[in-house]
């Protein structure tokens, strides 16, 4: 039986590899992990129109066949023997034509290793702008492989490439020599190879205006201008960088930019989040009204509809975040941002590339953890994943808002604003401290040693391609919904069950009550006799040292579905019966709440501040734990995160509540 041929796409970062993959796969691909690792590759069939019967794989970007990290090792090893598909029949290697002296290294090594290779030259248009072109037939002759120039935007050259792929596939496959890899590590080999590549490129790069070229050739002039112009970075880019990478202004601009992103995650998204919120509450109300007052109706409205709402409420923020980050990345600024912030982050064991994931963490830890894949160094990636849950994600915002509203007089909104900024500041400082400490104990905690390095190509500035950016935001948002959605939904249903059962139809004296009052009283009766309440009473001994009782405990448990559930759960437990303005009536209920055992007020200044600190630290998010498990490849890090952060949260809250009490703040 003959297997479907396998074509592996490889290339250096920024060489147009993914664009080519998207053209052939029509973006219908699935992403798979290499067995036993967190490194991913995408695989797809060719679109029908190409009429190529083969599977195409897109593996991570490679600079050379000399592995520089455990993840690169996985990617390189699998070229020689793809775990699920064997040896590739053909390798398509991409190279940026305007960076040909740097990008040909990988091609040379693949040829030397004995792979069957087609070289795909991209970014021909950039070279054209410099009035240069590549003589592909000469390059093909020198390298002894097929070379095709392709324009990723206009798809010019794709037809020729399709023909060459078919030709190469019909010639049977080569068996690569794995042993040769060791020679690639040799310094002299590398320098020699570069010298060869330089002599090749000086032969194949020609002026677009052949007359001058020929004239020069006849005069036997080794075209110095030609050499010069391939060696100079884009002039406009250098000019912009004079300002954006200016020693002082550059950093100020960076801080302003990040401040703007940070605020826009909140301000731009707020109206959309309100919209989602309103939509789902009215949908839940509508369902409850039309299905009547029974358990099934409550399952649909309070369980399923509200649960879906809990997933979708963060979608606006995630969309906006990825939209802005995508725009910045596509213009070329993001790489510069990572460069500017690398030094301070490297001092706590992180990397400049940790910055964007950390910033995303203020919206939601799940997309943030997913975006750490751009950090090549495993130790730094795991450390970044480790501290991301400490970034105060937006699910914590409703909780902070509630407690701060409780602590500050309503006529002084500026005080509340000040308080809230202070909370964010504290969470940033704490995450820095934690990263520093974890980094110190790296050997026993993260258990990955990986030489730290920072090598980043700063791309040429260009106008962002809106289509690409929109597409990426869509893909990222979809990924969030697919990964976090089911978990949040299932947990919402579980929490619904725990707070609804077993007293699902409570009996009490209903005389003189309106239907609405009956429904609301039923709700709070249900929860105070529910399984959740029993769990809450069981954990009360743990809550008492914090000056809190079982009701707060239950809400903290409910918050494991999603932190903002804390607020609605509090509203239920404290029998808040005014649907119009939940926050005000909840605040009143909180002011009147007494600890049942001793009659002392439950929400004092001390316990409220303590509660804020609990939320800053505690890892109360099952979805984060699940994603952290997936991205680190084991349970080790998520379990450490859960125990360290939640026990620190408890300890901090205990200390704060009791120290505040001792100094007379109650």
């Amino acid at each position: 039986m003959s297997k479907t041929p396998l074509i592996n796409l490889v290339g250096p970062p920024n060489s147009g590899k993914t664009t080519l993959f998207n053209i052939f796969s029509g973006k219908h691909f699935k992403t798979v992990n290499y067995p036993g690792s967190t490194v991913e590759y995408s695989s797809s069939d060719f679109l029908d129109k190409f009429n190529i019967n083969a599977k195409i794989l897109d593996s991570p970007g490679l600079i050379s066949l000399n592995a520089n990290s455990p993840d690169e090792e996985v990617a390189i090893e699998s070229l020689f023997n793809q775990p699920n598909n064997g040896i590739p029949d053909l390798i398509l290697v991409t190279a940026d034509a305007s960076q040909i002296t740097r990008h040909l290294l990988l091609t040379k090594q693949l040829i030397e290793a004995g792979f069957k290779v087609i070289l795909v030259l991209t970014m021909i248009d950039i070279l054209n702008r410099k009035n240069l072109k590549v003589n592909t037939s000469l390059l093909s002759e020198i390298l002894g492989i097929d070379v095709v120039a392709v324009n990723g935007r206009t798809e010019e050259g794709i037809d020729e490439l399709t023909v060459k792929i078919k030709e190469n596939l019909s010639k049977g496959k080569n068996i690569p020599d794995h042993n040769i890899l060791s020679t690639f590590k040799d310094k002299d080999y590398l320098i020699n190879t570069f010298e060869k590549i330089e002599s090749i490129s000086s032969k194949v790069i020609e002026s677009v205006t052949p007359d001058i070229e020929n004239a020069n050739k006849q005069l036997n002039i080794q075209n110095p201008i030609l050499r010069e112009s391939t060696q100079k970075p884009d002039a406009l880019t250098l000019k912009i960088d004079k300002y954006l990478l200016h020693k002082y202004f550059g950093f100020i601009f960076f801080l302003l930019m990040m401040g703007a992103i940070f605020t826009s995650i909140f301000w731009l998204a707020a109206p959309l989040m309100d919209l989602v919120d309103t939509l789902f509450s009215s949908l839940a109300n509508y369902a409850a009204e039309s299905l009547g007052n029974n358990w099934f109706s409550h399952l649909i409205s309070d369980g399923i509809i509200s649960g879906t709402g809990a997933v979708l409420i963060f979608l606006p923020q995630i969309l906006i975040l990825f939209l802005i980050l995508g725009l910045l990345e596509d213009t070329g600024y993001l790489a510069r941002g990572a460069t500017l912030i690398d030094k301070p982050l490297s001092m706590i064991g992180l990397n400049g590339k940790s910055f964007v994931p950390m910033l995303s963490g203020f919206a939601c830890a799940i997309p943030a953890i997913l975006s750490t894949r751009t950090i090549p160094n495993r130790r730094e990636r795991f450390l970044t994943i480790f501290i991301i849950p400490l970034m105060s994600c937006s699910a914590r915002l409703p909780v902070y808002v509630l407690i701060i509203a409780y602590l500050t007089p309503p006529d002084k909104p500026w005080l509340a604003g000040f308080f809230l900024s202070f909370v964010y500041l504290i969470s940033i400082i704490l995450s820095v401290v934690v990263a520093f400490v974890i980094n110190k104990f790296n050997k026993s905690l993260i258990k990955t040693q990986d030489d730290s390095s920072f090598i980043l190509e700063l791309p040429t500035y260009k106008l962002p391609k809106l289509k690409v950016v929109l597409r990426n935001s869509y893909e990222n948002s979809k990924e969030y919904i697919l990964r976090a959605g089911p978990i949040i939904l299932v947990l919402s249903l579980l929490i619904w069950f725990l707070t609804y059962m077993p007293n699902h139809s409570p009996e009490f004296d209903k005389t003189g009550m309106t239907e609405e009052e009956i429904i609301l009283l039923e709700k709070s009766e249900r929860i105070s006799n529910s399984y959740a309440a029993k769990i809450g009473i069981f954990i009360e001994p743990i809550m008492n040292p914090l000056g809190m009782d079982w009701r707060v405990g239950v809400s903290l448990i409910a918050a494991f579905a999603a932190r903002e559930v804390f607020v609605s759960s509090m509203a239920l437990i404290f029998k808040v019966t005014d649907d119009e303005n939940i926050q005000n009536s909840l605040l009143t209920a909180m002011r009147d709440a007494k600890i049942e055992s001793n009659g002392e007020p439950l929400f004092t200044t001390a316990t409220s501040i303590g509660l804020i600190f609990f939320f800053i630290f505690a890892l109360q998010c099952i979805s984060t734990i699940a994603v952290s498990r997936k991205e680190t490849g084991s349970w080790r890090i998520p379990i450490l995160q859960l125990t360290i952060f939640t026990s620190t949260a408890y300890l901090f809250t205990f200390l704060i509540v009791n120290v505040l009490r001792m100094i007379g703040i109650n």
């Binding site: 520089n68 590590k185 590398l190 010298e195 960088d241 990478l245 950093f251 690398d342 090598i455 700063l458």
Partner: protein, 73 residues
Amino acid sequence: MKKASELNFGEKGTIKDIITLNPSYKRIIEIGFTPGQEIELVNTSIFNDPLTFSLRGTLIAIRKNQADCIIIN
């Protein structure tokens, strides 16, 4: 003997050798820092690290301790 990390802002130099000082010296070569190439220090950030060099028609940022491997004529 001068290292690339000792170049001044805007100063050019030609690479003489790459020394095996930093574990990532091979990657430094692979990214294109090879003997004979002219490089220019185009940016030093506020922290003086990483350093951005113009090399082979592109801009590449590397950490200062990595730039220590690059010996300039």
